[in-house]
């Protein structure tokens, strides 16, 4: 491993004076009560972590482990508000005193990604602490090498796997030379291969730099070799065991197991059987094929903000039979299309090839393909537990949430209510029956989603990673419900990385990652693509006066002719290499709103303006003159470059500008969230229905709120990750990339002045 150049802060401050190795964490009387909770989440924690110690922090679901980790990092109040007391000191200072002294890696891969490319993302922390641009590349390269990310630095961050994204987060922390590294269940959402790569990376980094490290995890096994201290919290957040891992496990092993912690050497829990008679009679005989998917192919295309599309094969000619009274496990590495296959067979996502047929008994509306069914028909037969349980929440109490689908499909209220209460009790959610489901923890929401999916006893249950993040007790309850439903005659399909789940399944299908078509070599770039964001925006803006000042239609006609000529020039791609394709189509797509508006304006002007064709013609041309330059130019505005130019050329304040480009970076995720919520509503029987126009409006409001909630949660998580990398104090930032004004920028602006001049001075 290469060594990174030393940061000046490393040699200054209290650490040099004390002559002790850095990384000593002292926690005294730490309490935290978030607003809205009667009881504190952290009830008064005292801990002393000597420099270089590796601590494994365990505890049952909801014991405040993640909260404690955020307190260690000094970012508790970044995305939450409440009352805090006590002290946290790292080498005698507040954890935020030196930006980046504490490195933090969050549970969800990608939640801390700031930039479009991996090199730029790693440089984010360096920019925040004001490292000169010239010194940045060496440190970025060293950090990426240390986490074994060997791809080019301009690799898009969204192209990384979950494990690679976690290693990218490690690299981002590493550049700031932390003395304390905090990891919040860093492998919980990864497949075994990726999880192992992340663990190896952490171990290597911590050893090479003698870091103090704290790992939060409730599956202890894989981290035991790494740790030299095990701290266990109980459900109320108190420290109940603390010491060398072997000693703690031998003394407290049984009590840890009974609290739900996954302790190595103890057999997996038995699923908690649900009472006989909870479910009714099956709709199909045992082992009958309930759903038959043949040769299914799904391509996913992501349309980015710039109008470009990238297509990938998500599911490649896959076969799947779900049989009544059987549990079928779908396994395979992340990216192998497990979740997508599940959605495609449930009629929740379009497919590009193959056939899906249910058993004739289950057919609805004359069709055996769930994709054709109305929302209520679909809900009656199929249910789905998504990975993101929070996006499916529709009701205001836990009990109503569980009852939603039963009510939508018109089951007898008293029977389903009894079943709902039994299931909530089994999942340890009964005391929360009247609580607002949106205030539950992530693990609780997942269990709630499971209960809500089975109350109406669907013939087919599809569950996506239903056991992620569950402790032993809730794991046993979730699997108990899955097997209870199976024993009542339903077909169950599960995607999972969990070996214990696979071991209990009746059938297993292993999916491979589909081979992707080789990416095309980089095509030639149009002239417009060689301009910076400011000139692109400025040139688009100059179209407004050009459109407004045209006095009459002959002038407008001349101006639009000139604009079309200039647009063709801007799209021209001289040089060597393959021609870029889709240029004209992309402009045409972007002109659709403008075209519709132009016609509409022309029509109403003609109608209201005394059927004067000249006046209405001028109105149409005016809209086209204003819109066409934007349609050609705006797609070449890059989010990172926009931030660079706004800050360095226009000298706008750095932090708002960075927030803007980070948000623009994620525009494409908004569509995904929207689609996921719409799917969840459809499969739960409350989606938009062709039978009821009113359901369309309700759907619109629900989708809007849902999308906003999810994106604001993402913003809060990103704020934590960014502040852990010094963004809170980044008032004198440097910028990894220069923002130069080049000759093409000047030429573009001059060219855009031509239509304005023509409109103004044309003698027509």
């Amino acid at each position: 491993m290469r060594s990174t150049p030393s940061h000046p802060a490393r040699r200054s401050g209290s650490r040099v004076l004390s002559e002790r190795p850095p990384g000593h964490l002292e926690v005294r009387g730490l309490t935290w009560r978030p607003f809205g909770r009667r009881e504190p989440v952290l009830p008064g924690i005292d801990l002393d972590l000597p420099a270089g110690q590796r601590v494994l922090l365990a505890g049952p679901s909801g014991s405040g482990k993640s909260t404690l980790l955020r307190a260690f990092a000094g970012v508790l109040e970044v995305a939450d508000s409440g009352e805090r007391s006590g002290t946290v000191l790292l080498d005698g200072e507040e954890p935020g005193a030196r930006a980046g002294a504490v490195g933090l890696v969050l549970q969800e891969p990608g939640s801390g990604v700031v930039s479009a490319t991996i090199g730029r993302d790693v440089a984010f922390g360096l920019e925040n602490i004001g490292v000169p641009r010239a010194d940045q590349p060496a440190r970025v390269t060293a950090a990426l090498a240390a986490v074994h990310l060997e791809m080019p630095q301009d690799t898009p961050t969204h192209a990384l796997s979950g494990g690679e994204q976690q290693r990218l987060a490690l690299a981002g922390a590493l550049t700031l030379e932390p003395t304390l590294l905090l990891l919040d269940e860093p492998t919980a959402m990864l497949d075994p291969g990726n999880a192992a790569s992340v663990r190896a990376c952490v171990a290597e980094m911590v050893a090479a730099r003698s870091l103090t490290a704290v790992v939060v995890e409730h599956r202890l096994g894989p981290w035991l070799d790494f740790s030299d201290r095990l701290v266990v919290l109980d459900a109320t957040g108190r420290v109940v065991a603390d010491g060398p891992p072997e000693a703690v496990l031998s003394q407290h092993g049984e009590s840890l197991v009974s609290q739900g912690i996954w302790v190595p050497g103890h057999p997996d829990p038995e699923p908690r059987g649900i009472p006989v008679g909870t479910f009714g009679e099956p709709r199909l005989g045992a082992d009958v094929v309930a759903l038959d998917a043949a040769d299914v192919t799904v391509e996913r295309s992501v349309r980015r903000l710039d109008g470009s599309q990238r297509s990938t094969v998500a599911v490649d000619h896959q076969w799947l039979q779900a049989r009544a009274a059987q549990v079928h496990a779908l396994v395979g590495p992340s990216g192998s299309g497990k979740s997508t296959l599940m959605l495609a067979v449930a009629g929740l996502m379009g497919r590009q090839g193959g056939e899906v047929r249910t058993h004739p008994e289950l057919a609805a509306g004359g069709s055996r393909d769930p994709a054709d069914w109305d929302t209520v028909d679909l809900a009656r037969v199929v249910s789905w537990v998504p990975q993101w349980a929070s996006s499916t929440i529709v009701a205001h109490t836990v009990l109503d949430e569980v009852m939603t689908t039963s009510r939508a499909v018109g089951l007898v209220e008293s029977e389903s209510l009894a079943r709902a209460r039994a299931l909530l009790a089994l999942l340890r959610l009964d005391h929360l029956a009247q609580a607002d489901p949106r205030h539950l923890s992530g693990g609780e929401q997942r269990r709630l989603a499971m209960a809500a999916a089975v109350v109406h006893q669907p013939a087919l249950l599809l569950a996506d990673e239903a056991t992620v993040g569950q402790d032993r007790l809730t794991w046993a309850a979730v699997l108990g419900i899955v097997e209870g439903l199976r024993d009542a005659g339903s077909a169950v399909v599960l995607t999972t990385h969990d070996d214990a789940v696979v071991a209990r399944a009746d059938r297993t299908t292993v999916l491979e990652r589909p081979s992707q078509p080789a990416p095309d070599p980089a095509p030639r770039r149009p002239l417009a693509a060689r301009c910076g964001p400011l000139s692109l925006l400025g040139a688009s803006a100059l179209a407004i006066p050009a459109g407004v000042v045209s006095p009459r239609w002959p002038t407008s006609l001349l101006v639009i002719g000139l604009v079309v000529a200039l647009a063709s020039l801007a799209l021209w791609a001289p040089g060597q290499g393959a021609a870029p394709h889709g240029r004209v189509r992309s402009v045409a797509t972007r002109m659709v709103p403008g075209g519709v508006a132009a016609l509409s304006v022309g029509w109403s002007t003609w109608l209201l303006g005394g059927h004067d064709l000249e006046v209405s013609g001028t109105a149409v041309l005016r809209v086209l003159i204003i819109v066409l330059p934007s349609a050609v130019l705006i797609r070449w505005v890059d989010a990172d470059a926009l931030g660079d130019h706004l800050a360095q050329r226009l000298h706008l304040p750095a932090r708002p500008v960075v927030a803007l480009s980070a948000a623009l970076q994620r525009v494409h995720t908004f569509g995904d969230i929207w689609a996921e919520i719409a799917r969840a509503r459809r499969v739960r029987g409350i989606g938009a229905s062709r039978r009821s126009p009113r359901s369309g409006l309700a759907e619109l409001w629900a989708l809007t709120i849902g999308m906003l909630v999810r994106s604001l949660q993402a913003a809060a998580q990103l704020a934590v990750a960014m502040d852990a990398r010094g963004f809170a104090t980044a008032h004198r930032r440097t910028w990894a990339a220069p923002a130069r004004w080049r000759a093409p920028d000047t030429l573009l602006l001059l060219a855009s002045l031509l239509p304005v001049g023509l409109a103004w001075w044309a003698p027509l």
């Binding site: 607003f35 688009s540 407004i544 972007r590 659709v592 709103p593 803007l660 948000a663 906003l708």
Partner: protein, 224 residues
Amino acid sequence: MSTTNRPSSSASTAQTPVTGRRRSILASRPLLAWRTVDLLTVAFLGVAFGIAYWAWGLAYQAPGNALAAVFPPLQGIVGAPWLMAGVVGGLVVRRPGAALFCELIAAVVEALPGSQWGVATLVSGTLQGLGAEVAFAVLGYGVFGIGAAVLAGALSAPLEAVYEWFVYWTDWGWDYKVIYAVVLTVAGAVIAGGVGWLLTRALAKAGALNAFPPGQEVRESRPV
């Protein structure tokens, strides 16, 4: 200077009277010290509104033409939804500049996929956001109830209306122009202000604003 680790917001919460006329919980002081989560939340809200604005740009044509056929200045009604981002941004973050920043980002995002106004949305966004900002500033960034929301919605309209006189409604007489400005203002108060306030409350209840005053108002009113 960092304000992120100061639980200063708790001080303002403590002052909230339990009974009587409820006062708004304010953002942590100093008001101009934007936290990271303030910046990101406004930015993400702006992006979401920008996408919605773009979609409304396609959908509004039908109702807009219908209103134009009745009485052209009534088209101000379908213009009002475009005023909402500033109101919501201001209500959530409660800091100077939040309304303007939010509306401006929405306008940027609306322009990116290609809309019928090109980058003219940036001009509109600035004028609308300034209007909402003026409303919150007049109230000293100290009142954020439904009244403040309605005022912000209303004030988002006048500057925009005047701009539109010269760009989109050049053929109209002054009577139409003035009536249009009045219609846009009233519709802004009701649609952008009223619905914006409802939306903010819904987001707070959904637990999406825990780091913000509206979230605290909801959470402290019914602890779990």
